[in-house]
């Protein structure tokens, strides 16, 4: 500081300015670098999957069921359909319960003990390792039923969806300004109606994003399905029979000793990622259109 006072003002200003320009560039480079570090794994994984898996993709992959070891060809049609069934069960269970829980915490249970407990439970549930979810559902559903089933797999995934959806719904509802609620109540709308058609409606883009996050997260889960859905080499859409799932099939094929199965596992991983991206994009698109239409 003292030396600055001694040096001529103009010179001090330029050196100061140089330093600031330098610091600015440094910060920009650091930010860009961090962005690249964040994006690099995703891009690397995606291109490696395309490199390894795209050559194995053909029509048979989407239309045939797995062939026995030693035979070339075969596909994962049953696993793709099975994943769809499992995710449908999971969403049917996870989305309503998750959103209802979020509404309770944000709208009805403010500063109540129960709401705090629900929030804490959701946080704990969010951190429970997926394999623990698998054995929990195994003892709750598979053992009494005496058999692996699509239903138990769907329930395991559904339970995993709940905490993510609950917490994001809560955050999104809390972001809706109080004035909006007061306006609705001032018109004589009952509270439940105001929550459902005003607050939740306003927060719906965020809530949908939360649902899609939860969906994408459980779509790739293998561990909870190991002892619940179990996998199946044949066609099955029955809810109380073991069912194939894409991540499960990839897992089984990837740890197998056969090159042909490794090839299929790469292709399966590529298909899984593309399907998740497509379904998330589709829901986003439809939801955006719906919200815009509703607003105008």
């Amino acid at each position: 500081m003292a030396s600055n006072v001694v040096t001529p003002p103009l010179r001090a200003r330029t050196s100061n300015r140089l330093w600031r320009v330098f610091a600015n560039h440094l910060a920009t480079v650091a930010a860009v670098g961090a962005t690249i570090v964040v994006m690099a794994p995703l891009i690397a994984i995606f291109f490696y999957l395309i490199y390894k898996g795209a050559s194995s993709l053909n029509l048979a992959f989407f239309t045939q069921i797995p062939k026995p070891v030693g035979e070339v060809g075969g596909g994962m049609a049953n696993a793709i359909v099975g994943s769809g069934v499992l995710l449908a069960i999971a969403s049917l269970m996870g989305v309503p319960i998750g959103i209802a829980g979020g509404i309770y915490i944000a709208e009805f249970g403010r500063n109540k003990r129960l709401a705090n407990m629900v929030r804490f439970t959701a946080d704990v549930l969010n951190g429970v390792p997926s394999i623990v979810m698998g054995i929990a559902v195994f003892t709750l559903i598979v053992l009494p039923q005496k058999g692996f089933s699509a239903l138990s797999g769907g329930v395991a995934l559904g339970i995993m969806m709940i905490p993510t959806i609950t917490r994001t719904t809560e955050e999104m509802l809390l972001m809706v300004p109080l004035n909006v609620r007061e306006a609705a109540l001032g018109l004589g709308v009952p509270n439940w109606r105001s929550v459902l058609s005003i607050t939740l409606r306003t927060a719906s883009p965020g809530v949908i994003t939360g649902c899609m996050l939860a969906f994408a997260r459980v779509a790739g889960e293998t561990a909870p399905l190991l002892f619940t859905a179990f996998g199946n080499q044949f066609w099955s859409v029955s809810l109380n029979q073991p069912i194939a799932a894409l991540p499960l099939q990839i897992f089984v094929y990837a740890i197998s000793p056969y090159d042909e199965w490794h090839r299929l596992a790469w292709a399966g991983a590529l298909v899984l990622i593309v399907l998740i991206v497509l379904s998330v994009a589709l829901v986003r698109y439809v939801a955006n259109r719906g919200v815009l239409k509703g607003a105008s």
Partner: protein, 74 residues
Amino acid sequence: MVIGNRPEIARSLLAPAYSMASVIANEFSEAVDDLSRSALIEIGLALFIVTIIVNALARVLVWAVTRGAPVRGT
């Protein structure tokens, strides 16, 4: 799974090891008698308790910070 699944405690970070979750995943389908199944479920319980403790600590931390904030502000 990429941890190597070797049931011993290695001194080196580069050596294969085992994690609680992968023990369950690998051995649960082979656990036929009640004892081994119970043991594996107990590993699950241990994992669950770890989750609860970590979350409780996080909650306590948040409480401590938010309770201290207004006092510091005034």
